[in-house]
């Protein structure tokens, strides 16, 4: 964690703030989803409570808090209550590992008769050197929450919904993993910060010993790996059980999927988990394919140096740089969240066999092919360099 008291407490605080951000973002996203769907369907959506209906979700949360709590007769109490709590953990753990801004450097300073620092705080919960493997590993635990809910509520529809959901999640994890493999192959690292660092500046690559540069495009992963981007994004839709892949919740067949028996605040916790997955997916899209927190064409270190010159204090400049880049990250991130919402209200639902077909027979071969072609291209381009 850290070396001294200040570092440890800041790191702890950072984790809590990130978690609270996830929780706070959910009402905003739900509001956005309802207003957005209304916009798409030519309705108004919630607009009475507060400005533009923004307080609606707060009112809903309070209402949820006052709903009656009960366990269904056939349910297993421990599992029934554990499921919504477990639903929160994977998304939070994964999100904490994603870099959200440029690391903040704090110069040594004196306070309370001690000298502290210098410190470097990464703008993320914790900097994992195996970054992406950790994120995938933690997200693969998400299946437990589904299965616990399905089994714990003692209802055959929720069990069916849970089985559907978890086999859908695991089916698409393969294509997801292979898309990530091609990104790892391309960047040559598992660390997310390092991946972002490699996407600096304008599009430059080496081919047959020559540097080819495209000055009007940023050096983003999407231009090298468009197929991986499409596969990854599609797979994350399935991973977070969103339309068009929300078969586990197909109302016409399964009542409401694995959370039929859940109401009130437990339901809200499931919601937070689901939106958390959406946020992790959007953040990973940003990191892998869209330069992470970096401003296109601009080197964060240059921003930092210029700010240091104009502001005078390097600590302050570092903080400003960090938050500036966080803002950029947030913009990119928000665009993907909006795409999630837009897609939900645009595309119809798949049939379950089509869903499985798409995962196993279309996306998996494409992802495999993409990985091998990437390796081949890297091999060919680099071989003629060395001679």
């Amino acid at each position: 964690m850290g070396q001294d008291f200040v570092e440890v407490s800041i790191n702890v605080l950072k984790l809590i703030v990130i978690f609270l951000l996830i929780v706070q973002a959910v009402p905003v996203l739900v509001w956005l989803e309802r207003r957005g769907s209304a916009l798409i369907q030519n309705r108004l959506g919630p607009n009475r409570v507060g400005w533009m209906g923004l307080m609606q979700l707060l009112a809903d949360a309070v209402k949820f808090l006052f709903k009656e709590e009960f366990v269904p007769e056939k349910g297993i109490k421990v599992l029934y209550y554990a499921a919504p709590v477990v639903a929160l953990i994977p998304a939070t753990l994964a999100f904490c590992a994603i870099p959200l801004g440029h690391p903040i450097k704090v110069e040594a300073f004196h306070m309370l008769g001690h000298s502290w620092g210098p410190y470097v705080f990464p703008f993320q919960g914790y900097d994992m050197n195996i970054g992406i493997v950790f994120v995938l590993g933690v997200s693969s635990l998400a299946a437990y929450s589904l299965l616990l809910a399905g089994w714990g509520s003692g209802n055959k529809y929720s069990l069916l919904g849970a089985l559907r959901a978890s086999s859908q999640v695991i089916s698409y994890e393969l294509a997801l993993g292979l898309a990530v493999v091609s990104m790892v192959l391309f960047y040559g690292t598992l660390n997310l910060s390092e991946m972002i660092r490699q996407q600096q500046g304008v599009l430059v690559f080496q081919a047959f010993g020559q540097m080819i540069s495209v000055p009007w495009l940023p050096n983003w992963g999407i231009f090298y790996q468009p197929i991986a981007a499409i596969l990854f994004f599609a797979a994350t839709f399935a991973e977070s059980n969103r339309l068009p892949f929300d078969l586990p919740e197909g109302e016409a067949e399964l009542v409401a999927g694995f959370h039929v028996e859940y109401g009130g605040f437990k339901m809200l916790l499931f919601f937070i988990g689901e939106y958390g997955h959406m946020m992790v997916a959007s953040a990973l899209m940003t990191v892998f394919f869209f330069g992470g927190y970096q401003i296109p064409f601009v080197n964060p270190d240059e921003v930092y140096q210029n700010l240091t010159l104009s502001l005078g204090s390097s600590t302050l400049a570092s903080v400003v740089t960090g938050f500036l880049h966080h803002l950029v990250f947030f913009l990119k991130f928000a665009i993907f969240l909006w795409i999630f919402i837009q897609v939900r209200w645009t595309l119809p639902r798949f049939r379950y066999d089509q869903l499985m077909d798409l995962g196993w027979r279309t996306m998996l071969p494409w992802a495999l092919g993409n990985t091998m072609v990437t390796a081949l291209v890297i091999f060919i381009l680099n071989r003629s360099v060395g001679g």
């Binding site: 919960g125 495999l368 990985t371």
Partner: protein, 121 residues
């Protein structure tokens, strides 16, 4: 690696969720009505069957997932070190080794597709 941080936030989240659930159970009203505790099946009388038929496909999918997942996992260290092998002059060797592995993978995948193990109907 910040194992402490991971444990801390996991514990924090769990306690946060548990606290909210506890709070909700304190604040809510309790009305005792036996019908409420029945399984929810859209209001129809609950139909009790001894053996709810669950398709064995779910579990077949899970088995195939495990096997292919391991094959994908094996590709991570390879993807990570492919450039090192290239620099060391063993790029072709590494590529062929993985191509053979992927060949086996693809063979398995096509066998499963042909044997209709992946077909849902």
């Amino acid at each position: 690696m910040p194992l402490g941080g991971v444990f801390f936030i996991a514990l924090f989240v769990a306690l946060f969720g548990a606290f909210l659930l506890w709070l909700a159970s304190r604040l809510g009203v309790k009305v005792n009505d036996p019908v409420k505790f029945e399984s929810y099946e859209c209001g129809l009388p609950v139909e009790e069957r001894k053996d709810t038929k669950i398709s064995v496909k779910f579990y077949l999918t899970a088995i195939l997932f495990i096997i292919f997942d391991i094959e994908v996992i094996f590709m991570y260290p390879w993807a990570l070190t492919f450039r090192d092998f290239l620099k060391g002059g063993f790029g072709l060797f590494s590529l062929i080794a993985m191509a053979a592995f992927v060949g086996i993978f693809v063979f398995g995948l096509f066998w499963e597709i042909r044997s209709k193990a992946l077909e849902w109907d």
